[in-house]
């Protein structure tokens, strides 16, 4: 329980850091911490194979890809609510003509209000979930549920889920070809 609280707090703080950082590099590093704590939680949930796959695929490949792109295109340097492009200075918004700036402010207000309403709905749901009954896993099952190990996942993946497995490999091939085609400059 104590471990869960620690990892949950780190995950939430890292998630807030992702959306509130000024620089995309800091956001990518906070995302890395978020993925790391989620991998730890997968281990606590008896999903050891998924924890390692999470570290290898998400933390080791996807975040590295994000960092490549951030370094290549230079990211922006502004925090929430930024309205200037990366090529201009900080005075572009103040020099905008008045009706354009007004409609932009209204759009920003609409999206911010939607975000706040969603956050309040979540808080209401979380509060209800905390005070109503709780969902405990079946007692004494932790030892027998050795599933989540590589053998258990393999015994299911290559028998019952063989078709999704092969389709996943085809999907990866298509994605690879698409990425190469898109990123090549002719």
């Amino acid at each position: 329980m104590f471990l869960f609280v620690i990892f949950a707090l780190i995950a939430i703080v890292a998630a807030l850091g992702v959306i509130l950082s000024r620089k995309p590099v800091y956001s990518a590093l906070f995302l890395l911490v978020n993925f790391g704590t989620l991998a730890a939680m997968y281990i606590m949930l008896q999903a050891q194979f998924l924890a390692m796959v999470q570290v290898i695929v998400y933390a080791g490949a996807i975040v590295v890809l994000f960092l490549f792109v951030v370094m290549l295109i230079g990211g922006g340097q502004f925090g929430p609510g930024d309205t200037v492009t990366r090529g201009q200075g900080g005075t572009a918004n103040s020099l905008a003509p008045s009706p354009v700036a007004a409609s932009k402010r209204r759009r920003v207000l609409v999206t911010r209000t939607t975000a706040i309403v969603l956050a309040l709905l979540l808080l209401a749901g979380v509060g209800y979930g905390l005070i109503s009954g709780q969902l405990y896993p079946v007692q004494g099952s932790e030892a027998t549920f050795g599933a989540g190990s590589v053998e258990a996942i393999a015994s299911v993946l290559y028998t019952d889920y063989l078709l999704p497995f092969e389709l996943a490999s085809v999907l990866l091939l298509v994605g690879m070809i698409g990425a190469v085609v898109l990123a090549s400059n002719e």
């Binding site: 999903a47 998400y58 996807i62 929430p80 492009t85 956050a119 989540g148 996942i153 889920y161």
Partner: protein, 100 residues
Amino acid sequence: MVPTSYYLILSAILFTIGVIGVLVRRNVLIIFMSVEMMLNAVNLTFVALSRQFLSLNGQIFVLMAMVVAAAEVAVGLAIVMTVVRHKDTTNIEDVNLLKG
């Protein structure tokens, strides 16, 4: 023994933080990162409920979701890089050619 509902609540919090990141931020890369965070929150839900019901179906689905996310990140970042190079901006509001 951690109740499963605690994991579901944490997943809901992470998902909502991802949604707020997509709605509020204008940098296209941070929007993309928030989408990945949403996918991870859903994966956490799947794994928690897989332990709850003692079934491996949830974990297999998480594996497939990770595969889809990896392919999506590769192709999406290629698109993002092409668009940013073309328009010389990382602000999502400047990508408005389809606007009426």
